[in-house]
């Protein structure tokens, strides 16, 4: 089993990384499987810092994931986790939440898992408005299988399966999930750590389906293939130049919007939440039966 790494400062004071106490050590290739420069570890950090700042009992938080680079994130959560099937974390998460509404259930999913194989789970969970948190790490890539295009990859992109340029266009996942009925929808990028943490905090606090898309860098595949940078710094620069605040984006002309994408909060509303509704129904029907 790997030892928790420590950071030695110049005056030899030893500090522990703030995410360490939430990290599960012991997996092969520990501490994690992600490539150098990958943004998924940043999202792990944002999530545990959000949990830490909210002061939640980690024993009452279940992380759920599926297959893929992001799907593996749940396995590094030191407390309860459920590593499920590709595309299906939200179904499992709904079941967990129905069983024990006191639990906070957080799903980390990649873009392929969220919107290709898991697309129906995504819109159905949003429609039901189940009180689970979905965090989509969108790096426009199937990373674990070697850099194929996904349903979020922009048209024209180069990938292992679009060598001549992608001829399909990608989803805007925030619009999709907002239309399906999610009560909290936000997008940030790994170039915006503090907004990302704040969005996750709001998502966890929201009683209803919350969706946070965090655009992340895959320098190994998407960045390198599309000449956006083969390291994380170059890709973070690309994000800073590409993503503009939603409020600013809305004021831009169609010409100005070319090549730009909005980030910010898109939905923050209230709707009946299915888990609470079903438990209320069970209470009233049980009482009615007893007479």
């Amino acid at each position: 089993m790997a030892e928790a790494p420590v950071i030695a400062t110049e005056d030899a004071e030893v500090l522990e990384h703030p995410a360490i106490r939430y990290f599960r050590f012991g997996a092969p290739g520990s501490p994690h499987i992600w490539c150098e420069g990958c943004g998924i570890g940043q999202v792990f950090y944002y999530t545990v810092i959000a949990i830490d700042e909210l002061g939640l009992d980690p024993n009452k938080i279940v992380w759920v994931g599926g297959s893929g680079c992001t799907g593996r994130m749940c396995t590094y959560w030191k407390y309860d986790y459920m590593h499920t099937l590709h595309g299906r974390p939200l179904g499992f998460a709904t079941g967990i939440k129905l069983a024990n509404p006191e639990l906070t259930v957080i799903c980390h999913m990649g873009d392929g898992e969220t919107s290709a194989i898991g697309g129906n789970h995504l819109i159905q969970t949003a429609r039901r408005n189940a009180d689970v948190v979905a965090i989509c790490v969108n790096n426009y890539t199937y990373g674990m299988t070697g850099g194929q295009y996904s349903p979020t990859t922009p048209i024209g992109s180069l990938s292992a399966t679009s060598r001549y340029g992608l001829v399909e266009d990608g989803f805007d996942l925030c619009q999709l999930v907002a239309a399906a009925g999610a009560t909290y929808v936000a997008r940030s990028t790994t170039a915006q750590p503090r907004p990302s943490i704040n969005y996750i905090k709001k998502a966890i606090g929201k009683k209803g389906f919350s969706f946070v898309e965090i655009v992340s860098q895959c320098p190994t595949f998407y960045g390198r293939s599309n000449k956006l940078g083969d390291n994380s710094i170059a890709m973070l620069e690309w994000m800073k130049n590409t993503f503009v605040r939603k409020e600013q984006f809305e004021k831009m002309s169609p010409e100005e919007r070319q090549g730009k994408r909005p980030w910010g909060e898109f939905v923050d509303t209230e709707r009946p939440e299915v888990v609470a509704s079903l438990h209320r129904l069970a209470r009233t029907q049980r009482e009615a039966y007893r007479g």
Binding site: T75, D80, G91, F92, I96
Partner: protein, 382 residues
Amino acid sequence: MGNPRLLTGVHLMQGQQACAEGALAAGCDLFAGYPITPATEIAEAMARRLPQAGGIYLQGADELDSLTIVIGSVWGGLKAMTATAGNGICLMQENIGYAAMTETPCVIVDMMRAGPGTGIATKSAQGDVYQVRYGSNGDYSIIALAPESPQEMFDLTVEAFNLAEEYRVPTFILGDEILSNLREKVVIPSEVKVTPRRKPTVPPGEGYKTWAVPPGEWTPPMPSFGDGYRLAVSSFARTADGSPSQAYEVQRDIVNRLWNKVEANAEKLTRVEDGYLEDAELLVIGFGSVARSVKAAARQARAEGLKVGFSRLIGIWPFPDSYVARVGKRVKKVIVAEMNMGKVCREVQRCLGRDAEVILSSKPGVAMHTPMEILDEIRKVI
């Protein structure tokens, strides 16, 4: 009103309704399913009855969604079930493998209909014998029970829940359309034995190993999410603490245990009903609705002085190898009557080898064997 989970008394009940009542009696807390003929009325009954018992009905967006919700809820601490037909089982296979690998106790009802493909939604068949056993990828085992009547739709659903807990394995009810819609007398007892989930005896905390099997046991105990055990649940090949592993020894131990926790207990899990075996020269084997005709034909054959015995397989998986070998060897010939192209027949042949001649009486669905058809077969063979 009395206990909403147990409608003690004598009822005239449809098979699907009896299944739902069995689930309630067994402690089912959650049902997630997708409408499909001929299992829709199980969902309808659960949607009406579960809330009365304080339970949850949630309609899945499809069969995949349904079984993910079921499995998730079981790890959240509930007992849960889904019900479908054979083409719904096709869609569930990935999740069935997940449930097997994560040793998730759950009940999956397959009311078989004529296939392949869409087939004939409203007509019966018994074609799913292999797909419930071997449908998902890799090697694992499951339990499957085949009822013959609405009474057994109740009784065996209760038993399925209990076996699922005891063996930590997805457990199937292998019914068919005839049993879905058959209405008969169902007696619901005043008490039902319910097997609780086996929880760890150690207190929660760091260092608990999700997949450590205590000595002398087949399966690890099963805490729920939120209990504080820091559960590492995945369908990876994994070590006791849940870490994914590519080691041969890890794969060997997991697969052997998943297989043997059921297969090595086949004798204990054998459920059969038989009759007229003592001096029988011919044995007729059947299961599910067809077994009703098998029994009627054997009775009639005896009335005609023919030395015929019958055997109704209630537990289909694990296959009752020793039982079939034992009773098959005593006779010269065995007829297997089933509404498929010979799936149980093939298992019987495997058990008997050259000890007896095994003859298939096959109907591919829609029309069930009548007692007369089986009797004709008996007369021909004997």
